[in-house]
Amino acid sequence: MNLLDILLILPAVGFLSTLLTPKDNPRLTRTWVLCISIITFLFSLLLIGPVLASPGRLALEGNSPWIEYPAIRYHVGLDGLSLWLVILSTFLTPIVTIVSWKYIQNRVREFYAFLLALLFGVLGVFIAQDLFLFFVFWEISLVPMYFLVGIWGHDKRIYAALKFFLYTMAGSALMLVAIIYLYNKSGTFDIPLLLDMMAKGRLLLSPTESLWLFLAFFLAFAIKVPLFPLHTWLPDAHGEAPTAGSVMLASVLLKLGTYGLIRICLPLFPGTARANAHWIIVLAIAGIIYGALVAMVQPNMKRLVAYSSVSHLGFVVLGIFTFTQVGLDGAVYQMLNHGISTGALFILVGMLYERRHSLEISDFGGVATAAPWLSTMFVITTLASVGLPLLNNFVGEFLILQAAVQVNFLYAAFAAVGVILSAVYMLWMVQRVFYGETPETVKHHMPDLSPREWAILVPLIALMVWMGVGSQSFLPPISANNAQLLQVMKQPAPPVTVLAAKESVHAR
């Protein structure tokens, strides 16, 4: 059995067994889920070795037939692009399990079962090498998040959950059409095989076909990213979700979109991607600035962090569509950074909420006096988020801006405004929440960090520093993969006549 199969089986078994734990003993459920998720995380660390050993290629491939007609294969594999995203997902699951330890008191079993189902879905997306399999996991990851937001969220949770589900569903409907169309054209769902057929000229798409297919995939991914102006589901979903839901949503689910762009849109439709890069970059930059401006005026901390995600993900899309080594490296690295630092921000905001039962900035003030350690952690995370050197986001943003300068100086100029604005809205929030006078309501409801909270925050802060200082621990497999991707994108299709191509397709 392949290591990746076990990686998928662990959360699936966890999901089922969690449902079977006794109903009246939530403590047992929590402990059990914590064990399962830590085991999954430790297990996922075993995957690093094989991937590092084969840079730029798929490691740990597993390929067996699932359905005969149409030929759908269970084809999984791991490369430098998915490796860290897989580990990010498995790393955050035990963390959010501890985060929800006290907060979730209602229907505990279901909550943790959905959490593990979510992990199952996202891991599947990151390792699927078959378009159909990719789609299946893509949709699976949608359902548990819908329940997490809808059942355990705040006041407007139902509206937010529905909106989240329907947006993604609409996007994925078009993606499914595109996937089937590609299959009818080529006879396979297999991504490496499709790339191979394209490279050998056995699969030729006319520019119109290519454009429509690209747009169908792109729309599905752009909704998930979310790219401005498709982002409107995000503040609602983030704002209403329970802390664990917000963390998984921001840190992992959003990455599915950018991951899809790199995994599918770029290599399969290189020409179209290049031809459309300009307006996509404009949207990305619009998102960076718009997200930052709206974040600035949010009275609600969670929504503020949510809008900052729109801004940060705009950077990622900008990096991807520069089609440069530096830009892509930065984009992938920034996906990880955003996962860590925004995840940590949501957790910290959640801690404030558990103390004061409010998310409004105006209900706070002077928290630093009442809870100095909590404030310190918050400030460090904030500084990471705004891109202070030595902390993680700086590396990603720097690489992306560098790539943007290479492509067009104007892009970089506008994107850099976003960096400045991010400092403005984050620091302004910190100032209003943590400094100034301490109202009575805050003074008596603000205990400092408990050991459980220390256990959550220390690994996150350590990673922020590690990723900021030692980026070379993480970047090499990513770079190898991106180099490979750029190679694929450069390759002109060999001159084969359309007729011959068709024949060879039929001959298969």
């Binding site: 949709e139 699976i140 329907l166 059409v177 169309y181 009818n184």
Partner: protein, 488 residues
């Protein structure tokens, strides 16, 4: 045809499932007045056993395919598939009916006899290879179901439902019969294979206006029976008014049988003129799913919502017909199987939640179901996700195969609009999940007893099969693929 025509034993065997059901049905009618008020439960057992035996006979008959009764019936793989499907639906209908009838105080043998007669008609619809036979099957099935729709005769809604169904149904059947007459006038035959041969033969110079008009007239009849736009108006009222188990039966069994005859006629007799009816079908398909889905968005009654959802699913099924290929037919058969499973499960739960007198059929009555009966809520969620088309459920592969068939025949816009439609549909299916999972149970709600054994079995079996087909669809799809070959 020889004057002293005498069917062979083999032909009787091919007709055995129907024969058995007719015999048992008549037997039930005779036994009914002889049994006391407490002895009604045995009728359910007898008819359940009869249906199970018929499935065996249908499979046995399917082993030896061929025509029967001088080409009136055609027992091929297609017929066998649908026979087994409608017989199975009948069995589950009995499972969810018994307790319902007891609660309503209307337990009697007639109910089961009528059910069996209706199923006989459905089996005939699936197997008939002649327009006259098809008409007999259709009438046999419809007349019994008109009565079933109004079975609780003291209930106003039942009466409305039965009357509407009867009047509109008769009207639609008349159209169908008129179309049959036109066809007979043009081609001189009612046998599907003979009609096909006539239309294929260029020597005949068939008058296309007459053939087209006849097809259109027959389409009216078919579209009514499958509740396709613009002849879907009856469905919500009838489905809402009828007793809940009968609503399940009508929206699953009758619909499957109607699709069987629809497809068989279109794919055999009228296949030579497919260019002419194809646009008609896909326009109707698109209209059907759009009307069904948009109307379902605004419903507050559970039965009515499922009625509109069943209209929408008829729309998806018709998309498969536009592909007019064996793959298209196979995907339609797969979808019908998936649809039957998830609808049966959903209706079992509706029957369960409605309780005596069907007092709790509003969507709001589901509030907090996940806390009151977690298992039922979880099963309902599975069926709803399957209706929506989420992977790892049968409904997903159903949609996938259907829209793949549409793309195979280059109907890209139809596939795009169809899938967007299913995104719209997600809204109202999710709304039910919202009510069950995200709203608290109402204060002082009447206690909800655990489901009875019939409901429980139906729910669990259909849910297990829904998931199984969602992971290994090949089992049914291969079967459907092999069965989708028509004897022409």
């Amino acid at each position: 045809m020889p004057a002293n025509f005498m069917p062979t034993a083999q032909e009787y065997l091919r007709f055995a499932p129907e024969s058995l059901l007719i015999l048992v049905g008549v037997l039930l009618m005779i036994l009914e007045p002889l049994s006391g008020p407490d002895g009604k439960r045995k009728f359910a057992v007898i008819s359940f056993a009869a249906l199970a035996a018929s499935i065996g006979l249908a499979i046995a008959a399917g082993m030896d395919p061929g025509p029967a009764f001088s080409g009136l019936l055609m027992v091929d793989g297609f017929a066998t598939f649908f026979r087994v499907l409608v017989l199975g639906v009948g069995m589950f209908t009995i499972l969810i009916s018994t307790n319902y009838l007891k609660l309503e105080g209307h337990e009697s043998g007639e109910y089961y006899a009528l059910l069996l007669f209706s199923i006989v008609g459905q089996c005939l619809m699936a197997a008939s290879n002649d327009l006259i036979m098809l008409f007999i099957g259709l009438e046999c099935s419809s007349i019994a179901s008109y009565v079933l729709a109004g079975y609780l005769r003291d209930d106003k809604r039942n009466n409305e439902s039965a009357l509407k169904y009867f009047l509109l149904g008769s009207f639609a059947t008349a159209f169908l019969l008129y179309g049959v007459a036109w066809i007979y006038g043009t081609t001189g035959t009612t046998n599907l294979s003979a009609i096909r041969a006539f239309l294929m033969d260029p020597a005949h110079h068939a008058n296309m206006v007459v053939v087209g008009a006849a097809t259109a007239l027959m389409f009216v009849g078919f579209a009514f029976k499958v509740s396709a736009a613009p002849f879907q108006m009856w469905a919500p009222d009838v489905y809402q008014g009828a007793p809940a188990p009968i609503t399940a039966f009508l929206s699953i069994g009758s619909k499957a049988a109607a699709f069987a005859m629809f497809v068989r006629v279109m794919m055999t007799a009228f296949e030579p003129v497919k260019e002419r009816w194809e646009p008609l079908i896909w326009i109707s398909a698109l209209a059907t799913m759009t009307i069904g889905n948009t109307a379902a968005l605004r419903q507050s009654n559970l039965k009515r919502l499922l009625a509109y959802s069943s209209i929408a699913h008829a729309g998806y099924l018709m998309v498969a017909l536009t592909a007019h290929s064996e793959i298209g037919t196979a995907s339609m058969m797969f979808y019908l199987t998936a649809y039957a499973l998830m609808s049966l499960g959903a209706f079992a739960i509706v029957v369960y939640v409605a309780r005596k007198g069907e007092r709790f059929v509003e969507i709001q009555d589901l509030a907090g179901l996940s806390q009151r009966q977690p298992l039922v809520a979880a099963m309902f969620a599975i069926f709803l996700l399957s209706f929506t088309g989420i992977p790892l459920t049968a409904g997903f592969f159903g949609k996938f195969y259907i829209f793949k068939a549409a793309l195979d025949s280059n109907l890209i816009w139809l596939a795009v609009l169809g899938l967007l439609n299913s995104a719209v549909a997600a809204y109202y299916y999710l709304r039910l999940i919202v009510v069950m999972y995200m709203q608290p149970p109402p204060e002082g709600a009447e206690e909800l007893l655990p489901p009875t054994i019939g409901i429980r079995v139906t729910m669990l079996v259909t849910a297990a099969l829904t998931i199984a087909l969602g992971i290994f669809p090949s089992f049914i799809l291969d079967l459907a693929g092999k069965s989708a070959v028509f004897a022409r």
